[in-house]
């Protein structure tokens, strides 16, 4: 258990810089999630913390001790990989105890720690099986067990659930959350799945192109995204972005007034979450239904506005629309996110009413 500090981290592969100066403080016992599209540098960052990639510039400290010059085994970390990376020729017990055996831990202690981990993860009945005789979920549990056994200061997870099917992924997500509550360890978790990020994280770090776009709790990111990238990444279905004009202080879409700004700024982008749209005859957003998706408990309505912009609304599952039908949607001004054309957030005047 320890804090993790990254300061001024840069990473280049040859002439290409993939991480451009990253600073982050992870508190003791915090579960922090790196999220971003593939190729954004989040896995590279994790591999640098693990010591599998060299840091080009900057300092990594774990528990106040500088570690970026140490080999992986001496950093006090353990890592769980996407492909599980179990040793195929060793059984579960052998996989769990391998690192300890190499570190010269006495056999009695190895047994004790392996058994404790097996108990936490309910692996006891599987101890003598080889990895190929296990299901995907069981393999992932062994991989996590291998990390637990080492009693690391910091756990690193590299997209550990990506290879599991949807149902198992939800189950394992809860397992990891329980594990975090039980062990109280510092954890760094990399994923490209925003649902995983939202449900697991104490704080989320959103990456884009080797840079941190925003750091915050899931709700901070959901409520106050600093730019269109974060806004579009967090939340599902993704936020709608509409081109809007200003008329004085009034923000308008296709002539309809939506909310007010303190200062006029010309052309704007308006971010509206699908779940904040409601069906309302007096609403400002009138359009034609182009696609209607039924999900049982809820439904997604794709609406085309008169100026050819489309938006998705998440509505009640009892509703039914036919393509071509008229549909009028309303949004509270307080739930509108206003961005300038570069994608940066502008704080709207939330007191105005539609």
């Amino acid at each position: 258990m320890a804090t993790l500090e990254l300061s001024g981290i840069k990473k280049s592969f040859g002439a290409v810089e993939v991480i451009h100066g990253l600073d982050l403080q992870v508190k003791d016992g915090e579960l922090i999630v790196f999220v971003g599209p593939s190729g954004c540098g989040k896995s590279t960052m994790l591999r640098m913390i693990a010591g599998l990639e060299k840091v080009t510039e900057g300092v990594i400290s774990i528990g106040g001790k500088r570690v970026d010059h140490l080999p992986p085994a001496l950093r006090g970390i353990a890592m769980v990989f996407q492909s599980y990376a179990l040793y195929p020729h060793k059984n579960v017990r052998g996989n769990l105890g391998f690192a300890l055996k190499h570190a010269g831990v006495p056999q009695s202690e190895i047994d004790e720690r392996v058994n404790t981990a097996a108990e936490i993860l309910e692996l006891a009945p599987l101890m003598d099986r080889k990895p190929r005789e296990l299901s995907g979920g069981q393999r992932q549990r062994v991989a996590i067990g291998r990390a637990i056994v080492r009693e690391p200061d910091v756990f690193l997870f590299d997209e550990p659930l990506s290879n599991l099917d949807a149902a198992l992924r939800v189950h394992m997500r809860v397992e990891i959350l329980k594990l975090h509550q039980r062990l109280g360890s510092t954890m760094v978790y990399v994923t490209h799945d925003q649902v995983e990020a939202m449900t697991l994280a104490d704080r989320i770090v959103v990456f884009r192109d080797g840079q941190v776009e925003q750091v915050g709790t899931p709700l901070e990111l959901y409520r106050n995204p600093v730019n269109t990238f974060v806004a579009g990444f967090i939340g599902s279905p993704a936020m709608n972005f509409l081109r809007a004009d200003t008329d004085g202080n009034s923000v308008r879409i296709g002539g309809a007034h939506l909310c007010e700004l303190n200062s006029s700024a010309g052309e704007l982008q308006l971010g509206i979450r699908p779940e904040h749209l409601t069906l309302n005859e007096d609403g400002a957003l009138k359009g034609v239904v182009s696609v209607f998706e039924h999900l049982g408990g809820e439904s997604f309505v794709h609406v085309e506005l008169p100026d050819k912009q489309t938006l998705v609304a998440k509505l009640d599952g009892e509703l039914s629309f036919a393509p071509g039908e008229q549909c009028t949607l309303a949004i509270k001004p307080s739930q509108c996110h206003v961005f300038d054309m570069q994608g940066r957030k502008i704080v709207p005047n939330t007191h105005a009413m539609v």
């Binding site: 085994a73 970390i77 599980y84 040793y87 195929p88 020729h89 190499h102 296990l134």
Partner: protein
């Protein structure tokens, strides 16, 4: 549909059986005739060794009247040691080429594989000079060194392809577990590629065991003859002891056969299953 499948299956088997017969015929001929008297060999070359035709004479002269066990031992030593060195150095070199990035790695990889295209026998004269200069003429060491060099390019070629496919995450995970690079190779990578090692072993073993050229040139001495060279003693200028020649060839097939059986178990078994998501 079912009938069609059966016809296809029968056809495939017919072709395979025909090919097997063709390939096994000379072998069968050797074994059959090794059990016959000299007269019987010439009277009826394809006849079975029964009744009057049957004779142990060939085997008797091989096992008693010659240094055959010595030659056999020489062949075994040369083959096993060369094989061990080819597998060890081949796998290690390929691991380095596939795992590490260093200046000149592509060039080195190409250089090592280039050997496939250069027949080593072209360099016989230079090799002989070198062996003599090193005082290695008429030693098994000379043969072992030459065979190792001869076997490495193809071994590296096959190994590199397969080692590239070994999951990077398993090696990384071993690194995090604190294994040194050597232990990662021996304890994680080698067990993963056992089937490939078996394949390379079979590929490399047979040319070495069967080679006549280098034993003849580099170590034709009485003490260092290999089986293939030893067989020549039954081929005289005026008479050939066919029974003995065929008997020694039959015996010489055995070790290769045994090694093949050992390795083929590995060839069939894919051990990586379950290690990573397939």
């Amino acid at each position: 549909m079912l009938v069609r499948e059966r016809i296809t299956s029968t056809g495939i088997h017919a072709v395979l059986i025909a090919y097997s017969l063709l390939a096994l015929f000379p072998l069968a001929l050797i074994v059959i005739n090794s059990l016959k008297s000299k007269k019987a060999i010439f009277r009826d070359p394809v006849g079975l060794p029964v009744g009057e035709a049957f004779s142990w004479k060939g085997y008797a002269s091989v096992l008693t009247n010659s240094d055959f066990p010595l030659y056999f031992g020489n062949s075994l030593i040369v083959t096993c040691v060369s094989l061990f060195l080819i597998l060890l150095f081949g796998a290690m070199a390929s691991h380095a080429l596939s795992e590490y990035r260093f200046p000149g790695d592509t060039f080195l990889g190409l250089y090592l594989i280039l050997g496939i295209m250069v027949p080593i026998r072209l360099g016989t004269v230079a090799l002989l000079q070198l062996v003599v200069d090193l005082n290695l003429a008429n030693t098994l060491t000379a043969l072992i060194l030459v065979y190792t060099a001869q076997g490495l390019p193809i071994a590296i070629f096959i190994f590199t392809e397969f080692l590239k496919s070994v999951s990077r995450e398993i090696k990384d995970s071993a690194r995090i577990d604190g294994l040194s690079e050597y232990r990662i190779f021996f304890e994680v990578v080698v067990p993963l590629v056992r089937p490939v090692i078996a394949t390379v072993a079979v590929f490399s073993m047979i040319p070495i065991w069967n080679d006549l050229w280098f034993p003849l040139i580099l170590s034709p001495g009485e003490e260092t003859r290999t089986v293939t060279l030893g067989v020549q003693q039954f081929i005289g200028q005026y008479t050939v002891n066919w029974g003995a020649v065929l008997a020694s060839l039959s015996v010489a097939i055995l070790p290769v056969l045994i090694m093949y059986v050992i390795f083929s178990k590995q060839l069939i078994r894919g051990i990586t299953s379950g290690a990573v998501k397939g």
